[in-house]
Symmetry: C2
Subunit: 339 residues, 2 copies
């Protein structure tokens, strides 16, 4: 049974989201979860509901707060729940880490403890987003706010492999985020990257625009972490605003209310299709190990789905495959696309 | 009566959107519209519907296609509809220009023909977006893909004045788009800009994130044109996707369909609140003249609203006020916020 280490102290709703998500994931996906955190906090909650699940506790005496400086947390808190969970992955006890804690700290600790795959200068955070046709992988969404062209080339290869192995797209269409479709459109960074992506053997479809994230034109969209973070958070904010406006309009009079009542299940399905928590957190790609970063506001459902994604990444040996492909990145230029 | 020059040949639906939008704006807002383009194309359409409106034709023998290189169009097509309309503004015949044509060409021609306000290095394209509380101005959304810190400082001042004079916010809250709220978050550009914005006397609220575009936290959001363009187009694409998903869900069974029928007016209001065409195009700020750039897919309603915005910018002398403020930009550092 695959073991996944879950940071029990991370989310805004911790430890409830983590405990419930761990129990549900264990039951639904047959995962053995090692829940890491303060035993005195986690144990009482877990006791009430763990029947039929394989969830064990692992004590860690410290927790990293949301507003702590990642580098300071890395240095000072050697027994933080994130650190202990990452250590379990490095030691081979667990096959992956899931945390909804301080994103910067999870990234820094994952990178330091697990190390990066040969050929990867910087791990990238990948978001899996719903589109009209299926799912698109957007990366980087915040691990690297300043990037050089070769970083984006590595992101493209990582996105290609993740889309293929985890999302299940046979020949992922990889687009480069820019401000127009023509090769001449964009900034200095994207123009350099465009040239490089033409030379490697992935299914590069050229520049895409913001609107192409959701229309299904691309399976993978590559950008620097600043741009990707803005695009992701703009989307989250807009969805919240639209659902709020919809609610207001449907509550504005009796006829509309009645209509909304009849259409209730449609709205629930819509919300589910738009809900990030269904998509299971963002994997930090390029590590020698699996690390899935969840939203601070994660529900138990989000944690559960993140554990599923961690399991899939581990089973599909995404890191090992990335290592093979990226350690010989020239193969992309020589002509054979990676499997 | 204020005269606005409208490029009759620009949009994907030209000349229908332009002719109808011009006639409606003239009737509704008491504007005199000079419709510029090929007379043989515009005249027949206008004849049928211009009664009761003040719309005159001005012949221009050339049109610039959507995919033409702006610089080439600027050089070669001296009698294009965009060029002739911009000339009318420079000559003082018209008080503003509205075009839904090739964005790059409208920007290049506007800049060359009208010139920039003293103190502005580069005009910025500002989008007015709906929020839960009112409207937010996002700039730049695509005029400048690469920016230096002082450009963003100028954008902040331009956005401040536009929000105050046109959107009608008494003390606009100006935010800097970044990847986290803390001053330490962001890339090299935003960190520099953060320092500079603290020193000038606008109501600078610090860094904001993508999600703050729509939640009403800021009245003005400043970013480089690459980031703004991605955020804007991501939003457009997401709204299209959400409305499409909503339609699918509401058509999925009879009960939902009936509910949707009862809630129909709510959906129409929601669509209207999300519809960019209600917000009247994006002003190119920092010119010695008014230039409003519309979406290529503009409807007649979008053109009509853009003409309204052009009229308001002209009446409020936004350019002249910018000139005053920016020609003495030090006043921001010295302590008196601009009126």
């Amino acid at each position: 049974m695959i073991k996944i280490a879950v940071d029990g102290m991370g989310s805004d709703n911790s430890p409830r989201s983590e405990v419930e998500g761990a129990v549900q994931a264990s039951r639904d996906y047959g995962v053995h979860v090692i829940l890491v955190g303060k035993e005195a906090v986690l144990s009482p909650l877990l006791k009430g509901q763990s029947r039929g699940s394989a969830v064990e506790l692992r004590h860690a005496s410290e927790a990293i707060a949301m507003d702590e400086q990642p580098t300071a947390a890395l240095r000072k808190k050697k027994d933080s729940s994130i650190r202990v969970a990452a250590d379990l992955v490095r030691q081979g006890v667990a096959s992956g880490l899931v945390s909804a804690g301080n994103t910067g700290a999870v990234m820094a600790i994952s990178k330091m403890v697990m190390g990066t795959v040969r050929g990867v200068d910087r791990p990238a955070l990948a978001a899996v987003l719903p589109t009209l046709e299926g799912h698109a992988v957007l990366l980087d969404v915040g691990a690297n706010v300043a990037c050089k062209p070769h970083h984006l080339v590595q992101f493209a290869i990582m996105g290609h492999l993740f889309s293929k192995k985890i999302v299940g797209v046979s020949s992922p269409r990889v687009g480069l985020m820019s401000v127009g479709e023509e090769e001449s459109k964009g900034n200095d960074l994207t123009k350099e990257v465009y040239k490089a992506l033409k030379e490697i053997r992935i299914n590069f479809i050229g520049n895409v625009e913001g609107r192409d994230i959701y229309n299904g034109r691309a399976d993978v969209i590559v950008c620097d972490g600043f741009t990707g973070n803005v695009a992701l958070k703009t989307s989250e904010g807009l969805i919240e605003a639209v659902l709020q406006l919809l609610k207001e309009e449907l509550n504005s009079n009796l006829k509309a209310k009645l209509g909304a009542l009849l259409s209730q299940r449609s709205f629930q399905r819509l919300k589910k299709r738009l809900d990030y928590s269904e998509y299971g957190g963002a994997p930090l790609l390029g590590l020698r190990g699996v690390s899935i970063i969840c939203h601070g506001r994660s529900s138990s459902n989000a944690i559960k789905n993140a554990i599923r994604v961690a399991k899939e990444c581990a089973e599909n040996q995404v890191s090992a495959k990335l290592e093979v492909e990226l350690s010989q990145v020239d193969c992309y230029a020589r002509g054979s696309a990676p499997d």
